[in-house]
Symmetry: C2
Subunit: 520 residues, 2 copies
């Protein structure tokens, strides 16, 4: 069945998943449903201890068995030890048919690929995957389906009961013996635990894994003891060097600086740029540069930001330090400056649900004026792809991309016209991961295209000295330089689905066709 972004979703996938095709970003606004609840084992006896001896011990205590769904969070990013540590023990116990429901998976998790190959892991639900897991999925090695969800979409899936997590594993930089977890402190400091909060709320069993046990009460708890069954102390939950990195140096790439300049000049000419505006940006070089240049103009014009949201980096935290923003709302910290900033009185932690869940009574993204995003590809319908590489392999993550794009009054995608030798503006993206309906502006190094449905923004920009073009013109320039890219050859076999934040299907990901020689 063809969905609202023109993608053909095979009937067998609709049947197998019980899902509908994507029907527009606000299709489910006003939809009423009953939230799920976890199975909870009561602890009222004050003599009970929650401490378990080891990962092995806690898996036994949790009655780990075939077919379970395990929850993980990705705040430790490429420094995460938790997923591998747990899956190694699950594998050792001979457990099969595990579904991993992670807020994201990266190259740090390459070691679990053998467990995909041997059937220990048969389903993966994640914002995205990178590295060898992506290759394994794209080459058809996962027995079940990979489901790629946005950060808000994951919360929706769990809160609605679509995904039930049997055991959630919370990597906790600090934890007390009763399970109060904090993202800050210890030696594996990640700042916040926002993505894991829904695991705490909805998983039947919750295991806190820490390398820094602190005295009770570890308050303010980011995840409360009232939701934690067991606490395991291990030597290390992550590699501090890879969890948060030192702040990226401001880019000196002229192309990125130019795009940042275009973006900022666009932003300041919209009606949303006024005292009290709100703003989110990603971690790409151009995004970071645009925050820096925006801060300068805010200062010149005496305009103050009400709140900044993210996935935070130093330039956003500098706004707080320099008193240019009232507060920051934080779901993830990308660098050490952001981690450190968490201690600021006006740097607030929010859960992934508060951030982006379309199935609650209103998330922070709904209150965004601007979001500045990146993309692997954008097509002439403004559809974005941030998950599937131009070679057809899964190598990215939805993250908050579709959530913030849907919520923000002005969603801007910054993308170089050519990614290496590949046109980033194209006729049709390899996979639709954010619907064009929610993208308002595309900024490239060759010009800026405004989504024709935003006539109001087009009108605003009359007389503004920026290189406006249509999206088709941008595509044509790209193709004229690099040629029209050849379509990736896919098998029929569907290896994954790109879920819209509301749970409908935006697109499918198919197995990449193996390269065959003519004489075979």
């Amino acid at each position: 069945m063809i969905n609202a972004v023109g993608r053909d979703i095979p009937d067998e996938i609709l049947k197998a998943t019980g899902k509908e095709v994507f029907q527009g970003i606000h299709y489910r606004d006003g939809y009423t449903y009953k939230k799920d609840g976890p199975v909870t084992r009561c602890v009222s006896d004050n003599t009970k201890s929650k401490l378990a001896d080891s990962i092995h011990d806690v898996l036994i205590k949790c009655n780990i068995k075939d077919g379970m769904t395990l929850g993980f969070h990705h705040h430790f990013r490429e420094g995460d030890y938790i997923v591998n540590m747990v899956m190694e023990e699950v594998h050792r116990l001979g457990i099969k048919d595990i579904t991993i429901c992670a807020s994201s998976l990266g190259k740090a998790h390459d070691p679990i690929v053998p467990y995909i190959e041997d059937g220990t892991i048969t389903n993966i639900q994640s914002s995205g995957v990178r590295g060898k897991i992506g290759q394994a999925i794209s080459s058809g090695k996962l027995k079940g389906l990979a489901i790629m969800r946005s950060h808000g979409g994951r919360v929706r899936a769990i809160e609605s009961g679509e995904t039930r997590i049997d055991i959630a594993f919370i990597g906790a930089p600090t934890c007390d013996d009763y399970g109060n977890c904090r993202g800050i402190g210890g030696k594996s400091n990640c700042g916040v635990l926002s993505y894991a909060l829904v695991d705490g709320d909805y998983a039947d069993q919750v295991v806190a894994i820490t390398d820094c046990l602190v005295p009770f009460p570890n308050f303010p708890a980011h995840i409360s003891m009232t939701k934690v069954d067991y606490v395991v102390v291990v030597d290390a939950i992550g590699n501090p060097e890879k969890i948060a990195t030192g702040a990226a140096k401001p880019t000196t790439d002229m192309r990125k600086l130019m795009m940042a300049d275009y973006c900022t000049r666009f932003v300041v000419n919209t009606p949303y740029f006024k005292d009290g505006f709100s703003y989110q940006t990603g971690v790409g070089g151009a995004s970071i540069a645009s925050t820096i240049s925006l801060a300068k103009i805010m200062k010149e014009r005496n305009i103050r930001m009400r709140f900044g949201v993210g996935g935070l980096t130093k330039p956003m935290c500098d706004l707080l330090a320099n008193n240019q923003v009232d507060c920051l709302l934080d779901t993830q910290d990308f660098d050490l400056d952001a981690v450190e900033s968490v201690k600021d009185f006006k740097h607030f932690r929010i859960s992934a649900g508060e951030y982006a869940n379309p199935f609650n009574k209103g998330a922070v993204v709904n209150k965004l004026d601007f979001v500045i995003l990146a993309a692997l590809e954008v097509d002439v319908n403004f559809n974005c792809n941030v998950v599937v590489g131009s070679d057809g392999e899964i190598t990215g993550a939805q993250g908050g991309h579709p959530d913030t794009a849907a919520g923000a009054k002005c969603a801007i995608v910054i993308v170089p016209l050519l990614q290496g030798r590949i046109p980033a503006v194209c006729t049709e993206v390899t996979a639709v991961t954010t619907p064009g309906e929610s993208i308002d502006v595309v900024v490239t190094d060759y010009g800026i295209a405004i989504n024709p449905k935003r006539q109001d923004l087009i009108d605003c920009m009359k007389g503004v000295d920026l290189p406006f073009k249509t999206i088709e013109e941008l595509r044509d320039i790209a193709y004229s330089i690099a040629g029209e890219p050849e379509k990736v050859e896919f098998d029929d076999k569907v290896v994954g689905i790109i879920e819209s934040r509301d749970g409908t299907i935006l697109d499918v990901v198919r197995k990449v066709k193996e390269y065959t020689f003519a004489d075979n």
Copy 2:
């Protein structure tokens, strides 16, 4: 059927409520159940406003109808306007058969008695009631049953789905237009919103009522916008003079000072009194005096408290200000000093569930060393009554009494041997509201009784110069002074049940017999 505290619970009440009789404080430890979830209406469209024009308007928007259950919290105490304001409008709309599920009700709510009498309100669930509502229930005017629950018990009832709240009303000292509520700020400052958090989490519809609308985002939110459907701005949500009072002057009542001294000397001679101990106390004169005298000894012996819990008052907050405690965990603020202390970096808000729910994975009360409590009556089995007056009328609240008593390693009840001319230590309490199993020590002005099941504490006190007596001796002294009190005459009709924190029935409350003259 006779329950574990020897009370006969009528079969028809067990049948009507579907409840079991009380079987001991840890009967349900390890019990496994599935938590309930609210019916949620999704808001993903960023153009929607949550503002409603009036209480009337919001009731219409919520489709108020006969038989609904409405949730309220009592942080505004005797200064609360919310309950009356909402119920007046419900009554005006001609709605009948409402169940009120409040964290507590007081004399401020006398104006709703006519709505009990006319069938607008037919069921009341509360920690307790005072004033005319108590009289109305005890004289049989409530059509249904009054259910008296502890603070932890209310959370249990709601989270387990036993009580489903259709519409919760959150009185919010400050709120933004998207529903982020805070207990602090504005003109009706109550400090925290702890009792209302479960309403936010589990009510199908949540209405924030505020007299101080602030810019988005009102962070850190005590109740998140993600749980709030509507925001109503009114002139006043409470009477600031009656919400939090100025700190009570330290008592000069020699009897109370003596009991406080006994209590403190008992505490310091237990093995729990050591560096890192935890402590909770109530708001009575003797309790407050014992906190003050304990602080003095802590200073002398260089002993530091790890955390204090409450229902907080100035003497507890002074411990924080004087650096004698690491942190405070706050569910309610009784005076202006406590409200002001909420701003302290180490003064942490906790939900009623975190505080005391026996049906989660471990509440704060489980980690208490000491709790110092009051009571209306204590009997020779150490059972306490804090709800039913000696005249048989409901005039008190369970509050956190049964929760903290069950959780704390050492639960001490301070009670004057005579309350006026009524023996407070007696053969059998008018109603059992906290089981004697969880009470370790009774301190009176005539001596101290240790529960015989606590042989360890009895052993500790050998050689300690305190007037130890058996509980029977205390009772006998009381009876020798004031005579054995006559039993209150009750009708057979059951008007209310005293629920144990785990949902079983501790006791029932019967209609008080109308006084009849002999010649009638």
